[in-house]
Symmetry: C2
Subunit: 492 residues, 2 copies
Amino acid sequence: MEDMDTSQQTSRDGAAADTYDVIVIGAGPVGQNAADRARAAGLSVAVVERELVGGECSYWACVPSKALLRPVLALADARRVDGAHQAVTGTIDTGGVFARRDRYVTDWDDSGQAGWVASIGADLVRGQGRLDGPRRVTVTPPGEEQGRARTLTARHAVAVATGSSPLLPDLPGIDEARPWTNRQGTDSSRVPGRLAIVGGGGVAVEMATLWQGLGARTTLLARRPLLPRMEPFAGEMVARGLSEAGVDVRIGVSVTGLRRPDPDGPVTLTLDDGGTLEADEVMFATGRTPRTADIGLETVGLTPGSWLDVDETCLVRGVEGGWLYGLGDVNHRALLTHQGKYQARTAGDAIGARAKGLPLDDGAWGDHATTADHHAVPQVFFTDPEAAAVGLSAEQATRAGHRTRTVDVDFAQVQGANLHADGYRGQARMVIDLDREVLLGVTFVGPGVSELLHSATVAVAGEVPLKRLRHAVACFPTVSEIWLFLLKAARE
Amino acid sequence: MEDMDTSQQTSRDGAAADTYDVIVIGAGPVGQNAADRARAAGLSVAVVERELVGGECSYWACVPSKALLRPVLALADARRVDGAHQAVTGTIDTGGVFARRDRYVTDWDDSGQAGWVASIGADLVRGQGRLDGPRRVTVTPPGEEQGRARTLTARHAVAVATGSSPLLPDLPGIDEARPWTNRQGTDSSRVPGRLAIVGGGGVAVEMATLWQGLGARTTLLARRPLLPRMEPFAGEMVARGLSEAGVDVRIGVSVTGLRRPDPDGPVTLTLDDGGTLEADEVMFATGRTPRTADIGLETVGLTPGSWLDVDETCLVRGVEGGWLYGLGDVNHRALLTHQGKYQARTAGDAIGARAKGLPLDDGAWGDHATTADHHAVPQVFFTDPEAAAVGLSAEQATRAGHRTRTVDVDFAQVQGANLHADGYRGQARMVIDLDREVLLGVTFVGPGVSELLHSATVAVAGEVPLKRLRHAVACFPTVSEIWLFLLKAARE
């Protein structure tokens, strides 16, 4: 073990200005959480950020997308309730919606979050961070040449939390088309007249919900059924909801090329069904690529641009000496802010324990193991209906070799659901592990289910036996009473 | 054991028309669930109902109150979101609200629910049911004299699920005042100009939320702080919400008398602070009394009008032979539909097991034990903010002798909460059992927390250790991320 006395020295001391116990590359929520836990363990920490402190999530993903979507969904909710819908006589105020978004992204100004980094006693180092051999990181300040980089040294750990970027397909005319990605999809303050969205995953369906809700005539082009990682009915119900909201949902269609001859004019997409589609903007939500191309992976024997393969404590495999961690999107386990934060908390604690020479608690569900990454990853899409799932789908569970039973319930049976929204339409599925009598996965689709999901996450991550779940009484008349029907169906 | 061959004989056989395996008195949700489980065990069942099949809950409590409240809350939710509130330019449509309520109570017509009783193969016997010695029940049809009663005999069990009635205080002028109870509070289709509500519990605060929301100038008169069984901040926040909605909330005030000299005129309340209050209607929500005064308890050695003292299977204590069950409100454990249904499911299964001579599973958390009644009773009030709690409050936990730690978190810290509602105001508390490292109770107050509660109920009833709860990741950015802050605070 290295001498822990030095861990109290931060750069403010002057003496060891460029040596830290821990260096975190990337100041998004994941990097921030890793820094927070390392600081809580008494370690000195530098956080390197090339762009905005707060990362993609805070400025171009979760936060602005929910800020923008919530007005659409709140009005949809009110419109579904007799007595209330009569009061919704106006239309959504796009100016108010964009102003709301601007407030939650603090006008893309990161001083508040930079202040938070300072408040936990970590040093923020602005610039492009690159590994430079074991435990070394060079930071090139914005606008400077790489040769002017400052070199930081880590006594204990370097954590890469650089996230991911949109992956654009290599199509003819893609550059000329200047497509939107999640960035323009969340930072635009102008509603395109016609918007084409390419993709069928979570980003695509949320963006279609949003922009159609704000008045864009939206076309969704997906090669495969929507939300392919969830139970099939999730994508089907979301597709139906989008269609009813006016979105032109086209499944099984691929884009083969794009043209935008006039930079100020419309974009034309050619499709593999032989047709073309003209739109004022086109957005691609066709996947993500790790932001690891230019972070010096080659200096430690790894391949630039690759996802990082990590162990249960998020230590990168194949790097000697156990000092490099991969947290959040870059490890490709689950490209979700909350799961990255979970990894960061776990790894931050593990870094602290290792630095102190304490024993690790890295067995299944231990304090230093990211066990939930394998069994209980929750995900919510703020569409209408909302789609929420945790754990394995029925197909995933079977493929993983579990002996399972699948139970399906229509929310229309649940009085609390109908009271919540007249004509409530929703569907729930529970996948049971027959050998252990616990839940492997739960999926809810319907208005308002985004807050219901955590009950399932506690059940799945907690491995609460079915026999005990029957004592977890849901209030009448809430939507949560879906549990009563699921558990009853499981007995039959 | 009695001969199970007879259990297949229902009254339709003609032969044993008045003999059943199980007789259930009261066809509310509780009685229905008991009947359902007894039928599932292959037992013949008669269900006796003197009023409407579906009970208080379906026609004058949970169902109409939520049907009426939901439009008020859906509009409040939309008004809290910038971009959406601008579309809410009209006012709530009371006609639409009342029509909604009428649909959910099926115009106080119980034929649908009577059909359900028939569909499970139980016999519905309409009339006042009264015990007539062990295992015997007389049923006096509506409008008939008691002497014309039909006598039913139960081979195995009689379950009393007659519920409770409003308890009116013995005040001068109370009859003349013709006060509203939960009945008029939920079945009225007229909004009083001025409404005085007496009481400070769940019914009182929901009714104040509702009628103020529908336009009545509402005064709430409570002797003690609101919602006395929840954490103190719940009542405080609900009081503040009511005040901001325009309700005149007066705490620490008692009514000493009432006058309504002109039956078509206003009612005047005299108060113990020396003042008077004039209103167009006055509603009392001052407690409940068991509907056991006229059900023949004296014929089996019990006291008419008393609550029934029951064991873990809901068998009434002090009655020889083990055949009388008390389910729902009458046993005074938790006057909540969902908890009564839980008791009914549990007792129904126990009745089935006992009838078959099977061993009971009535240890803690067993299939035949109502263990959750003691540890994990959930409750939600559909007020603005909503108030939701499960298990013990900090004070209750201390009083019960637990060594506890209390953790408080303001929802304002949770980005998902703010994104849900601009300026979200809410509070959460978690009570930890320090000896077992599990949760004893959780309270949430804030908009939309009613569906969040079940996550806590699963944690409390499932006795999920804190260490494991840290692996139950809540989605970013949902309101459910309050869990992250609670668990973080618990580590500090």
